[in-house]
Assembly symmetry: C2
Homo-oligomer: 268 residues x 2
């Protein structure tokens, strides 16, 4: 092995997978274009990724052949195609908790008048799976696909309290970024709160994500008793107090428990 080869190998290992792989560029392109708000041009992308226009063009063609992206006939620019959305929806349906929760979500909305959200824990991330709009005048827009912070949201704190222990440990080790006015930033305080949430079986997060907003979340478990997600009502602090009404707590916990039961969970 030559010296430069050794260096190349080292660099490879060091950067933990550089853009060595060609397919990798295709994936990066797809992701970039999806996060970009407007269609992208070949030249623009070639500058962005530091490669030639020819390469970008070839990759876009590959993506277009599989209908992952499309080219606007008028502007000649490229953008993600509808297929990506359709595949994403397919993936959503994989989460059993969603099917089990839908009915209960609308019922909870009727009972509370507030918007209802369902989240799940996937790959260590809390992601909103579904939203049922509330009946209030102003609506908070926690759209499906949104990723909630672990330490500064009701969904996240429920996941910390009832999800795998490793998740909490990792979260406590990391930096607790302040995502909103009243977000928790002290690890000790977080640990204390999570413990309380585990005891009481529900969590709130007033002014943690957005000022004036609160959520009340309860855990859902699957047939093995493993954490499957969180069900929550979300709305103005005017309707969901930092110390929520006993009735609201009972409604959310009840709904979550019934979803758990649908998933085959049986309380010991």
């Amino acid at each position: 092995m030559t010296l430069s080869a050794v260096h190349a190998r080292k660099r490879h290992a060091a950067l933990t997978e550089r853009s060595r792989e060609t397919a990798d560029l295709t994936l990066r392109l797809l992701e970039f274009m999806t996060l970009e708000p407007a269609p992208c041009g070949v030249t623009e992308l070639s500058q962005q990724f530091g490669t030639s226009k020819a390469t970008i063009h070839r990759h876009l063609r590959t993506l277009a052949n599989r209908e992952f992206v499309r080219q606007d006939p008028a502007t000649l620019r490229y953008e993600p195609a509808i297929k990506l959305f359709q595949l994403g929806e397919r993936l959503r349906e994989r989460f059993g908790v969603l099917g089990a929760a839908r009915e209960e979500m609308t019922r909870l909305r009727e009972a509370t008048g507030q918007a209802v959200t369902l989240s799940t824990l996937a790959e260590g991330r809390v992601v909103v799976l579904e939203l049922v709009q509330g009946h209030t005048a102003v609506e908070f827009g926690i759209r499906p696909g949104t990723q909630m912070s672990l330490h500064a949201s009701a969904h996240g704190k429920v996941a910390l309290a009832f999800g795998p222990a490793a998740l909490l440990e990792r979260c406590l080790r990391g930096k607790l970024a302040s995502t909103g006015p009243d977000a928790i930033t002290d690890p000790a305080e977080l640990k204390r709160q999570v413990e309380a949430i585990r005891q009481q079986g529900w969590a709130t997060a007033a002014n943690e994500v957005l000022f004036g907003m609160n959520a009340l979340a309860a855990p859902v478990f699957d047939h093995r008793g493993a954490f499957a997600g969180a069900l929550a009502i979300v709305g103005s602090t005017q309707f969901i107090d930092a110390r929520p009404a006993a009735k609201q707590v009972a409604l959310v916990r009840g709904a979550a428990a019934r979803v758990s039961a649908t998933l085959g969970w049986r309380p010991e």
Copy 2:
């Protein structure tokens, strides 16, 4: 050039992009795994795609590095990761008609009691963008991401009537597959119906998708007057008659018109 090389070249041209491109395999893998209901194994995939296990493994690693797929630590099998869902949701939000319609959709649901769906026309396909659940006991599950047939659904027929003329032409030339009990299969009949829909400004499709189900759809236009999608109520034929009540028609058409207005459309 050898003879086999000539053949290979010919095959390449004939099949209009075979699996020549390597990135192409990555995309096919991603799509296949998403449509598959359960996680996939390397061996299984290598048989499915007719390549070596080594190749499949390398591609899966590439996908995993970008977090498009994940490997179940327990079973070692691979499945699409949550990122795909998140990207799909990003894409959905690109459709302006969705943001403009959300409020009106819940209002229409309140007024009619039926489930409300919004579709758009993307790359010649009618795709359901959003669903607002109804208040009825049994719910029809037209989930977001679903692709509706052009000729045998209310959404599709509205697209044919108010979308680009080329779409209708192409549809009339193709075969009209029967997707439900009362689906239209005769091109002449379809042409006649589409004409009527264009005149009256709305469409129904009783028993076309599913027996006992009907939908009532009206078109939405953007600021340029171009077809932007369709708004519909969907429910049992018990509630939405094949000849729907005048009030229902007025409600749906009114809602669609207000969404159009939000998009900047002004009636001449």
